[in-house]
């Protein structure tokens, strides 16, 4: 994984010192709240419903055991003993004091972490495939490019006060696990006819109150031109993006207003006029960064699938293998998912004890490396197949072997009204109710892959538009009600969900999900995914079942 060099260390230390000084100036009144707020946001510090919340970046979702232990220590020392993993490969601490925030940042800096640009109207933490460097379907490792983007975007003097926040996602695999179509810039690593590495470039995707899928503005951008081209996109956006209306300020609105083609032409013109050679990523630069992402020292293992025999004997182990263990590009290794879900858990929450336990297990079984997924789970990415049984036992003891990854109860949920100042309804209790309604693991496995996403307001941090089943909490005259959508997807052939019908009160949501799943189970062809069925039948087939006999709230 990436290790800081002298520049990184100096920079992050100076950032902490700068923020400490800014906090002091806020406390003594030299900075007003209006002046301070953008500064604290660019350091990840929000004022939420109950307290300050600090959002810490987990660059490209990769952590070392040492870093995870440091996060656990922060949870214990400065918070209430837990943290929350978000859909953007970040971790949030919910109870940070302003007068201790700089101390937390200093503790992070000691383990080469930071909270820089995890909020604010700037280029946010770049996200990528949580299986980067692991997945068998990978064309090229996206992480070196993510790191170059991190460096380029960090305190970029031209782009620190954009019209609105700006999110970049990169995928290097055939299957898009980074949801690039719903980002301000989505980058897909591709090869040209000659085998050279480059990017397909999408712009203008995003969720929120105006969900839009990104448009391709370039089919092939040579990889060495990445930073110049992204800079050109940002410059066009910074100059022409709307600043008069916060709801129309994202780049997607500009792209839509100009048309993707005209926007693309503006970017090309800007890029052509730029000092492209000066911005080019030379081979030495890429190599220096790429060495940080060299694969660990895998052992030569004889037996490619030693777990099979044990799976025959132990059905619970077999179930865990079926859902939580993924293939690895190295044949005798596996990627093991740890679901922070099920059993009444708050999706994405982890206590300090859990973090420490996972850090220990990563050291024992996975070269001391942990991944964080946008589905709010953790991954031990490099587990030798012959260690799977031992790891499974250890995870079981820790209550971390819930075999539900990718199923109905592997719910993605934002913090909602339990924590978030912008929320219009709670998200977590809805997740818990669905979880309780689908407690039978055998049934979950029977249903198979089915993703539920819940957001507590139209900002869509729970990505409800792209869930197989999306659930959006809204406020109706002070009461929480929930709107269901079906048939969203953030993967290839991404699509936005279609609204099922009138909003439902909280106590009817889990029942409605149950009915939707019933229709799927009754009507699916062998091997047919939920998404395929919704596309085949349309939502009306589900609507009749959900609302038949249900007393629905007026829409």
């Amino acid at each position: 994984m990436y290790r800081y060099d002298q520049l990184d260390r100096t920079f992050v230390a100076e950032r902490v010192r700068q923020f400490r000084d800014q906090v002091a100036r806020r406390l003594d009144g030299r900075l007003t709240e209006d002046e301070f707020k953008p500064l604290r946001l660019q350091n990840g510090l929000y004022l939420q419903l109950h307290a300050y919340m600090l959002r810490v970046a987990i660059p490209y979702g990769v952590l070392s055991s040492r870093q995870l232990r440091a996060l656990a220590a922060i949870a214990r020392t400065y918070d209430k003993g837990y943290g929350h993993y978000t859909t953007r490969q970040n971790i949030q601490f919910n109870w940070i004091r302003l007068d201790q925030a700089a101390d937390v940042l200093a503790a992070l800096a000691e383990v080469e972490m930071h909270a820089i640009q995890t909020s604010g109207n700037c280029v946010r933490n770049v996200t990528t495939d949580h299986l980067a460097g692991i997945a068998p379907d990978e064309i090229a490792d996206p992480r070196p490019y993510c790191e170059l983007l991190r460096q380029w975007s960090t305190l970029h003097p031209e782009f620190s006060f954009l019209p609105r926040k700006f999110k970049i996602a990169v995928t290097g695999a055939e299957a898009d696990r980074a949801a690039i179509a719903v980002h301000d810039i989505g980058l897909r690593l591709v090869l040209d006819a000659a085998g050279a590495v480059g990017f397909e470039v999408l712009v203008g995707g995003g969720l929120g109150r105006t969900p839009i899928l990104g448009s391709v503005i370039r089919r092939f951008l040579p990889a060495s031109d990445l930073l110049g081209y992204v800079e050109a996109i940002l410059r066009v956006y910074n100059r022409y993006g709307r600043r008069d209306n916060i709801y129309k300020a994202r780049i997607k609105i500009l792209v839509k207003a100009l048309g993707a083609e005209a926007f693309g032409r503006a970017v090309e013109a800007e890029w052509q006029a730029m000092d492209r050679d000066g911005m080019a990523i030379d081979a030495g630069m890429l190599d220096r960064v790429a060495t940080h992402f060299a694969p660990p020292a895998y052992a030569e293992l004889a037996d490619a699938a030693p777990e099979r025999a044990q799976a025959m004997r132990e059905p619970a182990f077999a179930r865990w293998l079926a859902r939580n263990v993924l293939p690895h590009r190295v044949p005798c290794y596996r990627a093991v998912m740890i679901a922070l879900k099920g059993g009444g858990a708050v999706p994405g929450d982890a206590t300090a004890e859990t973090m420490e336990r996972v850090a220990d297990l990563a050291e024992l079984f996975s070269f001391g490396e942990i991944r964080v997924t946008h589905t709010q789970n953790l991954v031990l990415g490099h587990v030798a197949a012959h260690d799977l049984a031992a790891l499974w036992h250890a995870l079981r003891v820790a209550g971390l072997a819930n075999p539900v990854v990718g199923t109905v109860t592997d719910i993605i949920a934002c913090p909602g009204l339990d924590y978030c100042a912008l929320a219009t309804a709670r998200a977590i209790p809805i997740a818990q109710a669905i979880d309780a309604a689908f407690a039978d693991v055998a049934e979950l496995h029977d249903i198979g892959d089915l993703r539920i996403n819940i957001s507590g307001c139209i900002n869509s941090c729970g990505h409800h538009h792209v869930g197989d089943i999306g659930i959006l909490g809204v406020d109706k005259r002070g009461q929480e009600v929930y709107q269901l959508t079906l048939g969203g997807s953030s993967a290839d052939e991404a699509s936005l969900g279609t609204i099922l019908g009138p909003s439902l009160p909280p106590d009817q949501v889990a029942g409605a999900v149950r009915r939707v799943v019933d229709v799927y189970m009754e009507r699916r062809e062998p091997g047919e995914s939920f998404l395929a069925l919704v596309r085949r039948l349309g939502v009306d087939a589900f609507k009749a079942r959900v609302y038949g006999g249900l007393e629905a709230h007026a829409a």
């Binding site: 004022l47 109950h50 209430k80 708050v346």
Partner: protein, 97 residues
């Protein structure tokens, strides 16, 4: 009759606080139950106090919250949002600690 409490966050800690007024004296409390409940006339006067407190860098973003007074100095919130804000998260790890 309409009733209000004044709420804000402590600048330094971020904690949710409520304005408590006793005669000419006032202070901020973290216990919602001890907030002062006022009518529309008091609301404006108390908001002015709270805004001055914000300018003095003691609290952030003060605002008046609609409540239902019980007539004995106590009150209940009218929206889910305000009751969650007053009572803390309704689920999960926050409850255990």
């Amino acid at each position: 009759m309409e009733h209000y409490v004044i709420s804000a966050n402590s600048l330094r800690s971020g904690a949710v606080v409520w304005l408590r007024v006793v005669g000419d004296a006032f202070g901020w409390t973290e216990a919602a139950a001890t907030a002062s409940v006022g009518d529309a006339a008091q609301r404006d006067a108390w908001l002015a106090i709270a805004e001055a407190e914000a300018r003095q860098n003691r609290v952030v973003a003060p605002y008046a919250v609609d409540v239902v007074a019980d007539g004995a100095g106590g009150f209940t919130h009218t929206s889910t949002r305000e009751s969650v804000r007053a009572g803390g998260p309704t689920v999960g790890n926050a409850l255990a600690r």
